[in-house]
């Protein structure tokens, strides 16, 4: 069945609310407004104001309240409108959500799911175009998911709600209107493994989230030039599935990592370092990174496009590598 990414998220939310009375959704404008990206449209009417809760603008507190509600036995789904606003809640996430279990000697679990939109590409300028998934992936005690397909958009949410620990789901805002085939057979989807989205022999293109589609398009175009790339969708940034990455690189001997975050300190650096540590002797050449320019993302289309990873930059990077290899 073909559905949009947005519809897939909504279907996951509905199913979760129907199947477990402990599940509720809270966030800014998730209720009467239907969600900034319309992911929760109709849910307030269907499930009522107790389970679909509009919050005041107060990110640190409603995320903290999600932690408390999870400690109290609920299964909260907290929506943060976009990742840039999540910085306001980072104290609760790092200092409470991620620590309370370990710091208490294992006395508590925090079954909290936090969803947020991430990424650039919609000309909303410097304060609304960040990609901080890599920062979240640095934090022990939480899990970080980056669904790129409609099946993962719905499936990962449902699996996340079965987890005993905090799970953070990053939905690339650019994907919401994207249509895809929802594979109900795939459920329940795992949240432990990366996926090989396109098998290939010549180079491993490793990416996640919104960049997956750019990587796949680049791969198809490269195929017409006789280059056969393998495309890996990390799916889960924490805990990271190194095995799938290393298996691929040992086969292709080359890797390009695509990450929409700023280059320095990007999660792409972690992938490069893991390959360095786990497959150095299998490499025919250095792992390359395709990331965003190190600038606040500007508003005009031409500058925003120049700042972000693009299909052509991926292609050029692979070509240069093959040429050298």
């Amino acid at each position: 069945m073909k559905v949009t990414y947005r519809e897939a998220v909504r279907a996951g939310l509905r199913e979760a609310l129907q199947s477990d009375p402990r599940v509720f959704l809270m966030g800014e404008d998730v209720g009467r407004y239907g969600g900034t990206y319309a992911c929760s449209k109709g849910l307030w009417e269907e499930f009522g104001p107790e389970r679909i809760r509009d919050t005041p603008l107060s990110e640190n507190t409603f995320v903290g309240a999600g932690i408390g509600a999870a400690l109290g036995g609920m299964r909260p789904i907290v929506e943060i409108m976009t990742v840039n606003f999540s910085l306001l809640a980072l104290d609760q996430i790092v200092n409470n959500a991620a620590t309370i279990r370990h710091m208490s000697g294992g006395q508590f679990s925090i079954p909290l799911v936090v969803r947020m939109a991430t990424g650039a590409g919609r000309q909303v300028a410097a304060q609304h175009s960040h990609s901080f998934e890599g920062w979240y992936a640095h934090i022990p005690g939480i899990k970080v998911l980056t669904p790129a397909t409609v099946t993962d958009a719905k499936g990962m949410l449902l699996t996340a709600l079965k987890e005993p620990d905090p799970v953070f789901i990053f939905e690339h805002a650019y994907l919401y209107p994207m249509e895809g085939e929802l594979d109900e057979q795939a459920f329940p989807v795992d949240i432990a493994k990366a996926a090989v989205r396109r098998p290939g022999r010549d180079v491993s293109i490793i990416t996640f989230g919104g960049s997956l589609w750019k990587a796949l398009e680049a791969a198809e175009r490269l195929a017409t030039e006789g280059v056969d790339p393998e495309v890996i969708d990390l799916r889960v940034l924490r805990p990271l599935d190194s095995a799938t990455i290393l298996t691929s690189v040992r086969k292709t001997h080359r890797a390009v990592v695509v990450d929409e975050a700023w280059r320095t300190g990007s999660f792409a650096a972690e992938i490069s370092a893991r390959i360095m540590e786990g497959a150095f002797y299998d490499l025919d050449g250095p792992v390359a990174r395709v990331c965003s320019a190190e600038v606040p993302i500007p508003y005009p289309k031409h500058l925003e496009e120049a700042a972000l990873p693009q299909v052509v930059t991926i292609i050029q990077t692979v070509r240069a590598m093959i040429g050298k290899g």
Partner: protein
Amino acid sequence: MAHEISREHGLELLRQMLRIRRFEEKAAELYSLGKIRGFLHLYIGEEAVAAGALPAFTAEDAVVATYREHGHALVRGTPMGPLMAELYGKANGCARGRGGSMHFFDASRKFYGGLAIVGGGLPIAVGLALAQKFSLLSPAFDKGEHQGRVTACFFGDGAVAEGEFHESLNLAALWKLPVLFLCENNLYAMGTALARHQSQPNIALKAHAYAIPSVVVDGMDVLAVEEATQQAVSSVRQGNGPYLLEYRTYRFRAHSMYDPELYRTKEEVAAWKRRDPIATFEKRLSELGWLTDDDVQQMEDAIAAEIDDAVAFAEAGPWEPVEDLEKDVYTPTSSAN
């Protein structure tokens, strides 16, 4: 009249409100044509606040606004051309096209944005006011020149829920800083009604928790806004510390360009539109015999011409070269360059 004004002044207030209204109507039109993109938040319905409040501030004062700041920049005096060009994302825009609708800046007019993180402008304004106070305290600064500078900080009712509202009012009052907290209460934070995001919907009353004086103002009445703002500004200039004004107003359009408006009724919107700050003020002026249909027509024609010029300026403007993408991440004199 809320207070005594001259005909000229009355016409000027009307003209500023009309400039905002027509500028934004044109912007909406250009948005549907794809000339403007990203988020576009219209101020239509709230014009009396910017038009009545900003003239109370001098060129030496500082202004901080939100992503709904077109009206504030217009009244502050930034020419319409660079503002329209900014909406286009052109290099002749007021932020070289990099900011767009949400991020107007104008250093020459001490207009510090155009900030789009709700509540994020309050600490910045408190800091600007701290610098203004320092300029009085430190013998190294020329007191005369800096005497009595203040900072105007505009924000919405939704921002009142953020922790920064609380922290900023406390710090400003504690340090007796010359800042005016100007709340544009349009009764909604996006789709969330005031009573659903504030357990105590009386925002002016919250100022007591910080020992800050406050007043509720009819934000649909440009003269009421002007009078209340002038009084507050003079108190702050005299060194009495911060002041909070709650302007009760209403947004006639959607929150941004995409908004099904499921959260409010057509009746409610219609009722507020009957209090349109422009129509009601036109009526008052004509009742005083200060405004004829001709006057209105002349004013509209002049504004239409100003807008045409602004659009032409924007259309003619160049795109910033891609080579300049990384320019100004750091200041040229910085060791990072």
